[in-house]
């Protein structure tokens, strides 16, 4: 128990010396704030109209469906791919025969 108290004592001594350097302190506070911590809301409570849900459904005709998309893209399944695939297939077959 003795060692830690000693340590904190001489640390607070160094703290005092470092004190006048206001700028360094400022940056450390900034670093704290850019952290990924969930922020306090400026108000305790709010009406339903001020929720994200209300804002988004208003812009999307009553749903939030428009905010999420399917993960595949059928427009892309063109003849290009088929041609490319046939091309590559030849290479695979060739390497197999070897």
């Amino acid at each position: 128990m003795v060692a830690p108290t000693d340590k904190s004592a001489d640390k607070s001594a160094t703290t005092k010396e470092a004190k006048p350097e206001q700028p360094t302190q400022q940056t450390s506070t900034a670093a704290l704030e850019e952290d990924d911590e969930f922020e306090d809301f400026p108000v305790e409570d709010w009406p339903a109209e001020e929720t994200e849900s209300a804002a988004q459904t208003a812009s999307g005709n009553g749903t939030t469906q428009h905010l999420w998309e399917e993960s595949w893209d059928d427009d892309d399944t063109s003849d290009d791919f088929s041609a490319q695939l046939r091309e590559e297939l030849k290479k695979v077959e060739a390497s197999k025969r070897r």
Binding site: T15, A18, F38, D40, T51, F81, L85, V92
Partner: protein, 454 residues
């Protein structure tokens, strides 16, 4: 002091907890003149004389009835508050050259916090006053973090060599915050264990206290402790009022942390539920919080429903665009190489946010899309006498090998392809079986790729 106590009386007469808590805010940015007035000449004797007069002799003018117990509780609280204000003004350089440190501010504020807790255990404070616990708890945490940062900053110069073997830098780094967590836990206990009827119960303070604890435990990287809290309130859920009876700020914060906890346990279905609730209920102007919620909700959605964020959803968040758009594009285009590159480019940030492993699993979706593309480009079998055309379901493995080579940009072994296909089937991303001897995959005639309309 006079003004402060007058404010106290007004709040007390109105039994307005928020207003009462206002008398204990130490916000030096917003109220520096007010705090300096409270501190006055900084003379302890005259301050106690003031408090004595205001609390004891001036009782006649009190429009409120304070019991002897309550009076002594509040008396001690305002004395401690006054001392803490002195340290805060000093650390901010607002006290005629007097100096202090965040460590001292923390200690002074801790005294105030402990006295406030005592108000409930020893001085019959009523439940409407619990916002006072919130304000002390909230600033206790902030000062603990400042004190820790200050110490780390000042010890940066000291050599590491003379440290002992059993030295734990993590614990040392967060010494004040660890201490703070214990006091916040006390606040939580004080609220959760109240046996008074619900209307006058401190149970209404539970979620505020829990949210403070979550923030603290996350900062300390001790999620298991957060899980303990979750368990504690779910066990007593019958007598804690349902979450939807609490203010939205508390609901959203709680749902966010509950969601992230489930996320970290890879329970994505559960996580999605909580995070979506948080997102829907969040205040529309709280951009930073919305961004944080989406940071976890997007990877969740990718794995649970295989959906991607639209451009419109990401529009207000340039940072999220930078993180997720390259990945989303690669997934849509079923481009394995682009996916790997995007994952690598964002690696540091993904790991920091702890979404890397989740996103990595998104590679399955890229692969699923690629296999689906092979299936579609295989076209249809010749339709038999007017029946609806059926897609070609017997596909040589070589076709898949070729596709993976195109997409991945490098040669791939046939065995590895088969292994990946088996995985797809196992994960129910693809329906069918592998006929190994014939080097063919036989896909299901109905819904070979569940949920994707083929």
């Amino acid at each position: 002091m006079d003004g402060l106590i007058r404010q106290f009386r007004v709040a007390y007469a109105a039994t307005n907890g928020e207003q009462l808590a206002e008398t204990l805010t130490p916000d030096v940015q917003a109220h520096s003149a007010k705090l300096r007035a409270i501190w006055g000449p900084g003379d302890l004797r005259s301050m106690t004389a003031d408090l004595n007069f205001l609390f004891h002799q001036d009782q006649a003018r009190l429009s409120i009835r304070l019991s002897k117990e309550e009076t002594s509780g509040w008396y001690a609280i305002y004395t401690a508050y006054w001392k803490a204000i002195g340290e805060i003004l000093a650390v901010k350089g607002l006290r005629n050259g007097a100096q202090s440190s965040w460590a001292k501010v923390y200690e002074a504020w801790k005294d105030l916090t402990l006295l406030t807790i005592r108000g409930y255990t020893n001085h019959d404070f009523e439940n409407w006053t619990i916002p006072c616990l919130y304000v002390t708890g909230r600033y206790l945490r902030l000062y603990a973090m400042r004190a820790d940062a200050e110490r780390v900053l000042s010890s940066d110069n000291t050599a590491i060599d003379d440290l002992k073997d059993d030295f734990d830098p993590q614990a040392e780094e967060n010494k004040c915050l660890e201490d703070c967590a214990r006091h916040l836990n006390r606040i939580f206990q004080i609220c959760a264990s109240d046996r008074a009827p619900l209307e006058e119960s401190r149970k209404w303070g539970v979620y505020y206290a829990v949210n403070l604890l979550f923030k603290t435990y996350f900062k300390l990287n001790s999620e298991p402790l957060s899980k303990n809290i979750l368990r504690a309130i779910s066990a007593g859920r019958s007598d804690i009022p349902p979450i939807d009876k609490f203010p939205k700020s508390q609901q959203v914060t709680f749902k966010y942390y509950e969601g992230v906890l489930a996320f970290l346990e890879e329970n994505y279905v559960e996580a999605e539920k909580h995070l979506e609730m948080a997102w829907l209920m969040c205040h529309k102007d709280a951009q930073r919080n919305l961004e944080l919620i989406l940071t976890y909700l997007i990877p969740c959605r990718l794995l649970t429903t295989h959906t991607l964020p639209s451009a419109q959803l990401l529009k207000p968040f340039p940072h999220l665009q930078k993180l997720f758009i390259p990945l989303a594009r690669a997934i849509k285009k079923s481009d394995l190489r682009a996916f790997d590159i995007a994952l690598r480019d964002g690696e540091d940030e993904f790991i920091k946010r702890r979404v890397y492993l989740t996103l990595e699993r998104g590679r399955d979706i890229v692969l699923r899309n690629l296999l689906r593309k092979v299936f579609i480009s295989g076209g249809f079998e010749e339709a038999k006498n007017g029946a609806a055309p059926v897609r070609r379901t017997r596909i040589p493995i070589t076709e898949f090998t070729a596709a993976m080579q195109i997409s991945g940009g490098e040669a791939i072994d046939a065995d590895e392809v088969e292994c990946l296909m088996a995985n797809m089937i196992y994960k129910n991303l693809m329906k069918g079986y592998i006929a190994h001897e014939r080097g063919t995959v036989v896909l299901s005639k109905s819904g070979a790729f569940p949920g994707t309309k083929v």
